[in-house]
């Protein structure tokens, strides 16, 4: 299931369009698959335990998945370019503490400023990652493993054992984590806006398409005139900015923040993206799939709790799901590749 965004040699415009249609259809089927899994999961859980579909419980579910969905969107941008960002958890921790620290120091601080600073801090971290990857030519896995430690260490140094508590935060800020706009929780609204905005950008805009081209075939993209370094840098900055946004929202939702906020999130976020059909080797997947993946992982956790399946099965279930998802992707991918080959064979012949 690879999106051949880079112009393949010898492919006419018509065939290209056909290939695009085919891969888009597979995309949609893939996302539909997650939606069906989600609906089934919720339905089965609801039959066994009707309280699961009460508004309150579904609301909590959506709230919990929102932050992960935002992080998964950022991660998708990076993974699509055949890179990875392991530092998201640490970046989230930094900006979560920044938000908490700023607001407990000055309760009257305007919230947009807090958001802007949190996002800017995240973007700065992303910029550092991106510069090291593009200019420094250091593999993304190495860079972001290093900054995972370094950013977390900075968070520890900065907080120096302090903790921000909900009591010291202004109510207006904490309400963001619980309030609703027109019946939709504010957090969910932000996540939806992020998903749709980034999703359309990645799908329809030149810069977005070029991310796929870079991930499908780095050398081909470069030969086709794609400014790979600049695009990859953009992807890292955006991923960092979204992790920064996630950090501010984390503080709003949970109220209590210390230096450990977001520890271990990186693997969950990558898992969400991969479950959502984002191939770990780039070039494939959509932001919508990744967000759905985050929602699915969140739903599994909640429904296992509701069903009083021993909490201990949660992680095992998530791991198994991830393996099933990539195995299915592989099978579908082989089929699509074969179909694309048959098409081009027909045209040549």
């Amino acid at each position: 299931m690879s999106v051949q965004a880079a112009p393949a040699p010898g492919s006419g415009p018509i065939e290209g369009a056909g290939a695009r249609r085919l891969t888009e259809r597979v995309f949609r089927v893939r996302e539909l698959g997650i939606v069906i899994a989600l609906v089934l999961l919720i339905a089965v859980t609801a039959i066994l335990e009707p309280r699961f579909v009460e508004t309150n419980s579904l609301r909590n579910l959506a709230l919990n998945a929102s932050i992960f969905a935002i992080l998964a969107v950022g991660q998708t941008l990076v993974i699509v370019t055949r890179n990875v960002d392991l530092s998201v958890g640490s970046v989230l921790g930094l900006s979560a503490f920044l938000a908490g620290d700023l607001l407990s120091g000055d309760q009257g601080l305007a919230l947009p400023i807090v958001f802007a600073l949190g996002i800017a801090l995240g973007a700065a971290c992303g910029l550092l990652n991106g510069v090291l990857v593009t200019w420094g030519r250091v593999p993304a896995l190495v860079v972001t493993l290093g900054t995972l430690y370094a950013f977390r260490g900075i968070a520890f140094l900065w907080t120096d054992g302090r903790q921000v508590n909900a009591e010291t935060l202004p109510d207006a800020f904490l309400n963001l984590g619980t309030d609703s706009v027109l019946g939709v929780p504010f957090l969910v609204l932000i996540a939806l806006i992020v998903v749709v905005a980034v999703g359309q950008w990645l799908r329809d805009y030149r810069a977005g398409r070029e991310l796929y081209a870079i991930g499908s075939n780095p050398e081909g993209a470069r030969l086709a005139g794609v400014r790979s370094d600049r695009r990859v840098l953009t992807a890292f900055v955006l991923a960092g900015a979204l992790a920064g946004l996630g950090g501010v929202l984390f503080t709003a939702r949970f109220g209590t923040v210390d230096a450990t906020a977001g520890t271990g999130y990186e693997l969950t976020v990558i898992a969400a993206a991969v479950v959502g059909g984002v191939a770990i080797f780039g070039g494939t997947g959509s932001v919508y799939g990744a967000a759905l993946g985050a929602l699915l992982l969140g739903t599994i956790t909640s429904s296992l709790i509701v069903l009083r399946v021993e909490a201990f099965w949660q992680q095992a279930a998530i791991g198994a799901l991830l393996l099933v998802a990539i195995a299915l992707d592989r099978l579908v991918g082989l089929r699509v590749d074969a179909a694309l080959r048959r098409r081009s064979a027909r045209r040549v012949g």
Partner: protein
């Protein structure tokens, strides 16, 4: 990330150390890469000097004992991981296998089995975990990064399924003493003696056997290795099995050393182990690196930790920052040096034409 090995003429990793010395920047970079171990030794000496200046206890038998003990498990896992990464694969599930092994040990002990039986069972289960990873990677053709993120969750989850959130502490003192104690009256912990034996075994396997050479061949160019008649799938499968087995061994070690078994031991150890491997000069793209480099990296990490912990003025949080900076620097430094050499070469080539 890991996929580029076969396709792109690698821009990041310097070529294999076995190449003939040639004129020009490539040879110089090659020589530098060959000296990565030298640089690590230099860093270790610098850390030792720094550590001694921070506290006179640094260069003492006691601080060696405590400092090395804490790294025992990560060190063990890093050895097998070195082979996996040289073959251009990765295994993120090692810390979860460690936890599963620890959990299993507790459960079987509670059921009344003697430890002498339990430990081989744990090793076999670890081998099976590794075989599962390897099967998914080699026979289904799935990327190891994604597979082992999945089994990281799966195996950790199974550890919780086995013993829940309880912890077991009533292991017999004869065994826990072995886990915590020093070797025959010296200041060297038993776990480090065990590490040394495993390290020698892996060094021989990687550097002195045909099997080891084929790991490099696979890591450098998997297609070429396959065409050359190497049984790529089987070799990779064996590497994952080794990684799982050693991780289970590390699980036994950490259980005996702390005389505690719990499902939440070693969370995040996989990243520390990978850090040690990469800092040791092993290329994340495969095909390059040595066991000696990884051991030196482990010594360096241990020394930095100990120096910062002994210091009264430096916060222990600096350990993470220094680790991260070193990791990135270990790849960035050679890259920048290579680029500078390249630029100089271009300039010196242009000058005669201009004049």
């Amino acid at each position: 990330m890991l996929a580029d090995t076969a396709t792109s003429p690698s821009t990041t990793a310097a070529p294999a150390p076995a190449g003939q010395p040639r004129e020009g920047s490539a040879a110089r970079v090659r020589a530098m890469a060959g000296r990565w171990e030298t640089l690590l030794v230099g860093l270790i000496v610098a850390t030792a000097v720094f550590g001694q200046s921070v506290s006179s206890e640094f260069l003492s038998a006691d601080s060696f004992t405590t400092g090395s003990l804490d790294l025992s498990e990560v060190a063990l896992m890093a050895l097998a991981l070195t082979l996996v990464i040289v073959a251009a694969e990765i295994d993120l599930s090692v810390a979860s296998v460690l936890a599963l092994s620890s959990a299993l040990m507790a459960d079987l002990w509670n059921r009344g089995l003697p430890l002498e039986f339990i430990m081989p069972i744990c090793l076999v289960v670890g081998a099976l975990c590794g075989a599962f990873n390897g099967w998914l990677v080699t026979h289904l053709g799935l990327p190891s990064l994604a597979v082992t993120i999945g089994t990281l969750a799966l195996f950790r989850g199974l550890a919780y399924v086995v013993i829940g959130d309880e912890s077991v502490t009533d292991f017999p003192a004869t065994w826990t003493d072995r886990g915590f104690g020093n070797f025959a009256g010296t200041f060297v912990p038993n776990t480090i003696v065990l590490f040394t034996m495993v390290a020698v075994a892996f060094a021989v396997l990687l550097h002195a056997t045909p099997f080891g050479r084929s790991i490099y061949a696979i890591g450098a160019n998997q297609e070429a290795a396959r065409f050359a008649g190497l049984r790529v799938k089987r070799i990779k499968l064996i590497l994952f099995v080794l990684s799982g087995t050693v991780a289970a061994l590390a699980g036994i070690v950490i259980t005996l050393r702390n005389s505690t078994a719990a499902a939440n031991v070693g969370v995040g150890f996989e990243l520390t182990a990978i850090t040690a491997v990469l800092l040791g000069g092993v290329s994340i793209f495969g095909g390059r690196g040595t066991i000696v480099g990884v051991i030196l990296a482990l010594v360096l990490l241990g020394a930095i930790q100990k120096a910062i912990l002994l210091s009264e003025t430096i916060s222990s949080y600096w350990i993470q920052i220094v680790t991260g900076v070193l990791l990135v620097g270990s790849v960035l430094g050679p890259n920048i040096a290579a680029r500078a050499t390249e630029a100089r070469r271009l300039r010196s080539r242009q000058r005669p034409e201009e004049g």
